[in-house]
Structure formats: structure tokens, C-alpha cells
Amino acid sequence: MFEAIAFYTFSAITIVMFWITVTSKNALYAMSALAAGMIMISGFFFLLDADFLGVVQIIVYTGAVMALYAFGMMFFDTTRDVKERVRAPKLVFLLSGMTALVLVIALVAPILGDHIEALYPMKEGIENPQAVGVVLFTKYLVPFEVAAVMLLVAMIAGIVLAGKKMDESLTLKVEDEFTQKGAQ
């Protein structure tokens, strides 16, 4: 009963927040709505007994990613409204609606999942973070290390790209920029 109430509340809030994100003209409103939607998504993870995933969702998305967006937006002019010229607005909703319809039909259809066996079944009496840790550091150790290297590469790329003088790279110069620099 409470699960149903929580599910419908969370889904209503999440859908509204994400809809604001994709339709808002103001970048700050869009970012705030996205952060709120992320928090509500973590509610689903707690409902689904994935405690550790919910905590990671809050820390990484609303902590790290949103802070990164907030700092990145200092470089942009976010007080002005975003001007967007949508060529075919009806086509957008038609395509998205069709995709949603196909996805819903495919997901609601009876799943031939009787033969699916749990590869790493959840055991009774073990808390979720502990079980996650055991599986992550035994069966998924190599992907975990690869993900660590990927995050390191992303960090270095972020530092280098946002650093000084990167806007004067010679490899991407266009002709008028050359003449503009020459005229100065």
C-alpha cells in the first residue's frame, strides 16, 4: 500500500520535473528541476531495495554532476532566456510519442523470462551495500578498474579543456578568425 503511494508520488514528481527540464527556456530553472528529478529517482532506488545505488545517485548526480553544471554555467550567460528555433515541433512530439508507445508495448508484453536465472542472486540476511561490494570486487573487478581509469581520463580532459589558451587552438582555426587576429 505504502509502496504504491510512494511509487505514484515519486513518478508524478519525477515526470513533472523532467518535463520542466526539457521545456524550460531558462537554463537555471532547467538545472534546478533536473536536480530535483534526480533526488526523486533515488527514491525509486530505495523503494527497489537498492540502497547503495540510491546513495550513489544522490552523491554523484545531485552532488557532483549538478555542482559541475553550476560551476560550468558561470562561463555561460544564463540570465538570458535560451533562444531556440524548432523547425518541426509536431514531428518532435510524433517521433517521441511513437517511440514511447513502442517501448511501452514492448515492456508491457508478457516477458518470456521464465528461463532467466539470477547470475548473482541476492541472499537473505545480507544487506545491500555488502552484497554489492562482494559482487563488485569479485566478478566486476576489471570493469571497475577500467571505470576508474575512464574517470581519470575524463578528469584530465576536463582540466585541460577548461584551462587557459584552449580557445586559441590552431588546429580548429577558421579563416575569418585568422584575419581577425591579424587585424589586431
Binding site: 526539457v22 547503495f52 548526480y61 554532476v65 555561460f76 510519442g97 517511440t99 511501452v104 575512464m150 574517470l151
Partner: protein, 100 residues
């Protein structure tokens, strides 16, 4: 009673909302927001499958998706800052230097 189908339909709806954003947004920052929505919709689906089949693999994949999203944001924001410094706009229509 909330079943697996409820969660999967919710995941599909969230994915469609993100798809609307990807289709109609012309600003790079907003486009990046929409991709975050897409990744989160997939995460909800993975966690639901993980719970209803009693398997931890779904949660593992959700963790790796979170890691991918974090690194995507770092690199994407860096590229956007470079572009904004050079051109002064984040409009996608201004990126037609190859006239494709």
C-alpha cells in the same frame, strides 16, 4: 501492488521525455541535460529488473552508467566552455562549419 511492468513503463516514459528534449533542444547545455534524463531512465529500468529477478547484475550496470554519465559531463562541459569562449554561443545551428 507495484509490479515490474510499472517500473518499466515509468522508465519508458522518462526515456520518452528525454527523447523529446534531445529532439527539440537547440542549446548544447540543454541537450546535455536531456542526455542525463535518458541515462537515468535506463538506470531505473536496470534497478527494477535487478529487484524483480533477484539479481545484482542490474545494479552493477547502473553503477557503471553513473560513472559514464559523470565522465561524460566533465568532458562535455569542458568542450562547451571551449566552444563558448571561441564563438560566444551554444546554439547547435552555429556548428555547421562543415555544411553537412
Amino acid at each position: 501492488m507495484i509490479t515490474l511492468s510499472h517500473y518499466l513503463v515509468l522508465s519508458a516514459v522518462l526515456f520518452a521525455i528525454g527523447l523529446v528534449g534531445v529532439y527539440r533542444r537547440k542549446n548544447l547545455l540543454m541537450l546535455l541535460f536531456s542526455t542525463e534524463i535518458l541515462l537515468n531512465a535506463a538506470n531505473v529500468g536496470f534497478a527494477a529488473i535487478s529487484k524483480f529477478y533477484g539479481d545484482l547484475t542490474g545494479q552493477m550496470f547502473a553503477f557503471f552508467i553513473v560513472a559514464v554519465a559523470a565522465s561524460e559531463v566533465a568532458v562535455g562541459l569542458g568542450l562547451m566552455i571551449v566552444w563558448y569562449k571561441r564563438r560566444g554561443t551554444l546554439d547547435i545551428d552555429s556548428m555547421q562549419s562543415m555544411h553537412g
